[in-house]
């Protein structure tokens, strides 16, 4: 795992600083006097040999000394401000996803080949294939036409006069749309996955036994079959993180949600490389940790795998 970690940081760094058309040379104003250029090169360590640049970058990253190109503030500080917003959004989206996807999958599996199953399957395909930004605009069009209420950002403009309940409701309202759309794609995928997993489990002998023993159908499904069907879903958990960060970029930009997705997009636009590199590395690391935890959970859940 350590090697992967190192690999991640190296790739991030190489991609950003060494790619053709890259950065650091471009941010310097070619018309500046030689003294200024020299100073800038010193600031960004460009006067040192390549491998040293990499280590210096790493050091700066960990000690929080990496500064944004755009406004000179420490990168970590900028991230810290917004990461909770994104996490909030992702948390809500994930809750929505799992609470809808799993029941849908089970529902489909129970009525395999029925009309509802086919409908559900088709719906899932639509969900996977629809471009998220398009869905976002459709929903925006819909809600604004129907409700006439502003949908952008985290809170409405005139909030000083609101009572606490209204504040909370307002916050929830703004959360709903982006989370729902973020969730749609995942719901589609996970419900299909659940369905096929359930289908496989149902063919097993122990399910037949359970039924033969006279256990009520509901219990057979929700208690016995589900536990085993959920196992593969745990492995997907690890992969959810990078998807959410990627999907968040578009959602946050559309809904003007102040999270790190939007931060990264603005950073890319402004060619703010320290920020971009940091976010890239951090998401990769988070994914790694996520996968690791998923593996652990899988090991705990399925005793067969425990002793490698």
């Amino acid at each position: 795992m350590l090697i992967t970690l190192v690999g991640i940081s190296i790739i991030s760094w190489v991609v950003i600083t060494q790619a053709p058309g890259s950065p650091i040379a471009l941010t310097m104003d070619p018309k500046a006097s030689p003294k200024v250029i020299e100073q800038m090169m010193k600031n960004y360590d460009l006067d040192k040999p390549i491998y040293q640049q990499y280590f210096l970058w790493l050091k700066k990253l960990f000690t929080g000394r990496l500064y944004s190109f755009k406004d000179g503030r420490p990168v970590l500080e900028k991230i810290e401000e917004r990461i909770w917003n994104t996490l909030l959004l992702n948390l809500v989206a994930t809750i929505i996803t799992f609470s809808l996807a799993i029941p849908l999958g089970i529902f489909s599996a129970r009525r395999q080949y029925s009309f509802l199953d086919h409908l559900g399957t088709f719906g899932a395909y639509l969900g996977i294939s629809a471009p998220t930004f398009w869905l976002a605009y459709l929903l925006i069009l819909g809600t604004v036409e129907l409700f006439g209420y502003p949908v952008l950002g985290m809170r409405s403009f005139v909030t000083e006069d609101f009572t606490t309940t209204e504040l909370v409701l307002d916050r929830i309202w703004h959360l709903m749309l982006p989370s729902i759309i973020l969730a749609i794609h995942s719901i589609a995928g996970i419900s299909r996955y659940t369905r096929s997993s359930m289908l496989e489990v149902i063919r097993q002998d122990y399910v037949r036994t359970a039924r033969a023993k006279g256990i009520p159908e509901e219990e057979v499904y929700y208690k016995h079959a589900l536990r085993n069907a959920l196992l593969p879903i745990i492995t997907i958990f690890g992969f959810l993180i990078p998807d959410l960060i990627g999907g968040a970029i578009i959602m946050e930009t559309i809904f003007a949600w102040p999270g790190i997705g939007r931060l990264s997009y603005q950073a890319v636009l402004a060619r703010d490389y320290p920020v971009v590199m940091t976010i890239l590395t951090i998401s990769a690391v988070l994914t790694l940790i996520g996968n690791f935890i998923a593996d652990l959970l899988y090991g705990i859940a399925d005793p067969r795998i425990r002793y490698r």
Binding site: I3, T4, G7, I8, I11, S12, V15, I16, A19, P20, G21, S22, P23, T121, F122, Y125, L126, I128, S129, A130, P131, T132, F133, W134, L135, Y137, L138, I140, L141, V144, P242, D243, I245, G246, G247, I249, I250, T253, S264, Y265, V268, L269, R271, V276, I279, L280, S283, A284, V285, T287, L288, N291
Partner: protein, 283 residues
Amino acid sequence: MEKQQSKVFWRYFKKNRLAVGGLILGILIFLIAIFAGLLSPYDPGKTDVSLKLKPPSARNLLGTDQLGRDVFSRMLHGSRISLTVGFIAVGISIFIGIFVGATAGYYSSWMDSLLMRFVDTMLCFPSFFLILTVVAIMGPSLINIMVVIGITSWMGTARFVRAEFLSLRERDFVQAARSLGVKDLRIIFRHILPNALAPVFVTATLSVASAILVEAGLSFLGFGVQPPAPSWGNILTEGRTYIFDAWWLTIFPGLAILITVLSFNLVGEGLRDALDPRLRGRR
């Protein structure tokens, strides 16, 4: 032997109506892309500001955009971009994937571990963000987009190919070839690879679907195909400002993306079902 296999495969595939529908749709879109020039009533780049932002009518089937260009013609030409990006990007990713997967699967031990570590590392990156970043750095041109998508999506293919190689490597026909003195490279390409390709078709089709979505997303964020070249993504972006007044600039491109991606997904899943021996017993 191979002829029989494809007959069996077709029988299963045909039973899946959604997949067949997807295939027909896909072929249709492919034809549209090829004959876009002939099918377009107007020149997609021709501006006529007196006709700007007109709703769909008999003259302009899908309306006009803010510069008076016919949306229908632009959409037809946009299909070319989407399909081109899809196919070439996936072509690149399959090439890399097969190479890495075959090497890892055939030559086990340290080569395998090293390559798999590399695959794991690449898998950790949020792909869309990575693609966005690299395209932003290298400049948004059609080639850059295709190459970047290609070099960030090979990992799935690599894993599947490796898995197939690992199992096929121990089979009799490979042992036989080896004992006859056939060189390694020849064994890989001529003997093992053709049998390992089945999952690659599935991944390839599904990858085209996702590549098209990525291209649309990039265009939407401004880093895809640049205007005035028509791409479904950037028609949508340009229409953003007029969303409440000119709904046709938003609905149609998205619909086009949806239908195209849907067709590839349906075919891909159909392929997967038809090729997966475990599921056979049920039908």
